[in-house]
C-alpha cells in the first residue's frame, strides 16, 4: 500500500530519470570531462598528468588552429550576412502575392532537407576548375573566364560559403516568411497611402518588426557556423593544404587521427566560449520574459 502510494507520488520523477541521465551524464559530465582533459597531457589515451594551461598555450601557437579560427570568423560573417540578406529578400519577394508561391517555397527550401555529405560533392564539382562552371563558361566562348576559388588558398573558404548559403537560406526564407505573415496588413496600406516607397517600408518598418524572427535566425545560423564540419569534409577536406581548415575539423582530426586528446579538448573548450557568449543573453531574455509573464499571472 505504502509502496504503491510512493510509486504514484514519484512517478513524474521516475519518468524524468532518462532526461536527468542525459543532462548530467552526457551534457554536463561530458563538458566537465573535456574541460578536465584539456588541462592534462593526454595523447592517445586520457591521462591524469596535469600540466596546467600548457595545451592552450600549444593550441594558440599552432598555426593550423589559428588559421581555422580565422577561417571560422571569415566564414561566419560571410555566411550569416548572405543567408540573412538572401533569405529576407526571398521572403519579401515571395510575399508579393506571386503565382506559384508553393512551388517557389519548395524549390528554395529543398536543399535544407539534404545532408552536406550529399550536396557537398555536386558543389565540389560545379566549382572545380575545368570541369564545372568554369569549363562550361569557357566552352561558351569566354576563354579567359576563370573561377577557381576552390583550389585557391585565400578564396577556398568562400566556396564553402556559397554551398552552405545555398543549403540554409531557404530555411531563413521560411522563418522570415512566417514572421512577415504575422504582420498586420494595415501597415502596408497606411504606408502606401502616405506614399512611402515599398523598399523603405520593408527596410525601415517591416524589418524592425521582424526582430524576434531575425534573432532566432541569427542564433540558428551562428550555432551552425561553430558546428561547421560536414560541408568542409565533403567539399575540400580542409584543403588545399590546410587552407579551409575549421575548428570542428581540427578537433576531430586531433581526437581520432592524430592522437592528441589533450590538445583537441583544449580546442573544444575554446569553441565552447563563443557558444556560451551567444547563449547567455538569450537565456537571460528568456528567464526575464518568464519572470515578467509570471508577474502578470
Amino acid at each position: 500500500m505504502l509502496a504503491q502510494r510512493l510509486h504514484v507520488r514519484f512517478a513524474p520523477h521516475l519518468a524524468l530519470v532518462p532526461m536527468a541521465l542525459v543532462v548530467l551524464g552526457a551534457y554536463i559530465g561530458g563538458a566537465l570531462w573535456t574541460l578536465r582533459t584539456s588541462f592534462t597531457a593526454s595523447r592517445t589515451f586520457p591521462s591524469d598528468n596535469f600540466i596546467g594551461a600548457a595545451q592552450y598555450v600549444r593550441l594558440f601557437d599552432n598555426e593550423r588552429w589559428l588559421l581555422s579560427l580565422h577561417n571560422l570568423a571569415v566564414y561566419g560573417v560571410a555566411f550569416i550576412l548572405a543567408c540573412m540578406v538572401i533569405g529576407f529578400l526571398l521572403a519579401v519577394f515571395i510575399d508579393q502575392n506571386v503565382k506559384g508561391e508553393g512551388v517557389l517555397r519548395t524549390v528554395f527550401l529543398y536543399p535544407y532537407a539534404m545532408s552536406f555529405i550529399a550536396t557537398g560533392l555536386v558543389w565540389q564539382w560545379l566549382l572545380a576548375p575545368g570541369s564545372g562552371i568554369e569549363g562550361a563558361v569557357r566552352q561558351m566562348g569566354f576563354d579567359g573566364f576563370s573561377f577557381d576559388w576552390i583550389v585557391h588558398q585565400d578564396l577556398v573558404i568562400y566556396t564553402v560559403v556559397i554551398a552552405t548559403v545555398w543549403q540554409a537560406s531557404g530555411l531563413v526564407m521560411a522563418l522570415m516568411l512566417a514572421g512577415l505573415r504575422g504582420i498586420d496588413p494595415e501597415i502596408y496600406k497606411a504606408a502606401r497611402l502616405d506614399g512611402i516607397p515599398a523598399w523603405r517600408v520593408y527596410l525601415q518598418i517591416v524589418l524592425p518588426m521582424l526582430g524576434p524572427s531575425v534573432a532566432t535566425v541569427f542564433l540558428l545560423l551562428s550555432t551552425a557556423v561553430v558546428k561547421l564540419f560536414d560541408a568542409v569534409v565533403a567539399m575540400t577536406q580542409g584543403g588545399p593544404g590546410i587552407a579551409s581548415e575549421v575548428p570542428a575539423k581540427f578537433i576531430m582530426d586531433h581526437l581520432f587521427l592524430r592522437s592528441n586528446i589533450g590538445l583537441a579538448s583544449a580546442g573544444a573548450v575554446t569553441l565552447l566560449i563563443p557558444v556560451l557568449a551567444l547563449l547567455a543573453p538569450y537565456a537571460y531574455a528568456r528567464s526575464r520574459r518568464a519572470r515578467l509573464a509570471g508577474g502578470h499571472a
Binding site: 529543398y110 502606401r192 564540419f229 573544444a268
Partner: protein, 294 residues
C-alpha cells in the same frame, strides 16, 4: 501585390482594374528575381540528375550543364552496389533512433507541462542549452564511456548517441505542444483518478498525433543526414549511408566516376527528399517549431 503596387489613387480604383494591371515593371522585376533565384537553387539538383545518366566519356568531353547524349542506367547500378549496404545500415539506425527519442521526448514534455516535478525546469534548461553545444565537446567522453561499457562501435552505441543528441529538440516539441492542451482536461483526468502513466497513455498520447508526425519528420531527416556521429560511433559494420557515400567519393584512386558519384548522391538524398516532398507543410511546421535547434 500590396507593397509594389504602383502609386495611384487607390480610393478611386476599383479592385478589378487594379488586379488586371499585372505586368507593371515592378511585377516583372519581382518575377525576374524569383525566377533567377529558383534557377540558382535548382542548378545543383539539375546537374546531379543529368550527370547520373551520362557515360564517363561524355562527362570528360562535354559541358557540365548539357543534357546526356546517350543516357545510360549503368551509373545507377554501380552506385547502388556501392552504397546499398549503407542504405540498410541507415534504415537500421534510423528506426530505433526515431522511435526511442520520440517516446522519451513525449514523456519528458508531458511531465514538464503537467506534473512539473521540482528541478525539472532547470534540467530542461540545461538540456536545451546542450542543443547548441558543438558535439565535439561531448564526443570523446561518450566514446570513452561506451568503450568502457563495451558497446563502442555498435548499433546500440549509435542509437544511444542519437537519443542523447535528439532529446533536446524532441522534448521541446512535445513540451510546447502539451502547453497548448487545456489544463482543465488534465485536471478532469486527475479527478477521475488517473495516475501519471494512465493519463499519459489514455489521454495525452491519443491526441499527440500531429506533433508525433512533426517529431518523426525532424528526427528521421536529422538521423539520416547525420555524418559525424555515424562516422565515430557506428563501427565498421554499421556505417550509415552518408559515411559510405563520402568514402566512395573522397577516397577513390584514379579517375573520379562522376556519374556513379552523382547517382550515389541522389540515392543518399532520396529518403530525406521524399520526406520533404511528401510531408510538405508538416516539414516547414517542424522546422518552425524546432527553430531553436542548430
Amino acid at each position: 501585390m500590396r507593397a509594389v503596387a504602383p502609386p495611384m489613387p487607390i480610393a478611386n480604383a476599383p479592385a478589378a482594374t487594379r488586379r488586371k494591371r499585372l505586368f507593371t515593371p515592378a511585377r516583372i522585376g519581382v518575377y525576374a528575381f524569383l525566377f533567377s533565384a529558383a534557377l540558382f537553387f535548382l542548378l545543383p539538383l539539375y546537374v546531379m540528375i543529368i550527370t547520373s545518366f551520362k557515360p564517363m566519356d561524355e562527362i570528360r568531353m562535354g559541358n557540365v550543364f548539357a543534357l546526356p547524349g546517350s543516357a545510360t542506367l549503368e551509373p545507377w547500378r554501380a552506385a547502388w552496389g556501392a552504397v546499398s549496404q549503407g542504405f540498410w545500415n541507415s534504415v537500421a539506425i534510423a528506426v530505433p533512433s526515431t522511435v526511442i527519442p520520440i517516446l522519451l521526448g513525449a514523456v519528458n514534455g508531458y511531465a514538464l507541462s503537467f506534473w512539473r516535478p521540482r528541478g525539472a525546469n532547470l534540467l530542461f534548461g540545461v538540456l536545451l542549452a546542450g542543443a547548441f553545444i558543438p558535439v565535439q565537446v561531448m564526443i570523446y567522453p561518450l566514446v570513452w564511456m561506451m568503450a568502457h561499457a563495451g558497446v563502442f562501435g555498435s548499433l546500440p552505441a549509435i542509437v544511444v548517441v542519437h537519443v542523447i543528441f535528439g532529446m533536446p529538440l524532441m522534448t521541446l516539441l512535445f513540451r510546447n505542444y502539451y502547453a497548448s492542451v487545456p489544463h482543465e482536461l488534465f485536471q478532469a483526468a486527475r479527478i477521475d483518478g488517473g495516475g501519471f502513466w494512465r493519463i499519459f497513455i489514455q489521454v495525452m498520447l491519443p491526441m499527440s498525433l500531429p506533433i508525433v508526425v512533426v517529431a518523426a519528420i525532424m528526427q528521421v531527416t536529422g538521423v539520416w543526414n547525420d555524418y559525424i556521429l555515424g562516422l565515430v560511433f557506428a563501427g565498421r559494420e554499421n556505417l550509415p549511408m552518408t559515411v559510405q557515400l563520402n568514402n566512395v567519393i573522397n577516397t577513390t584512386t584514379g579517375t573520379r566516376l562522376y556519374n556513379v558519384n552523382m547517382a550515389a548522391t541522389i540515392l543518399t538524398a532520396a529518403v530525406p527528399l521524399a520526406i520533404y516532398f511528401i510531408s510538405g507543410r508538416w516539414f516547414v511546421r517542424g522546422i518552425a517549431a524546432g527553430a531553436v535547434k542548430g
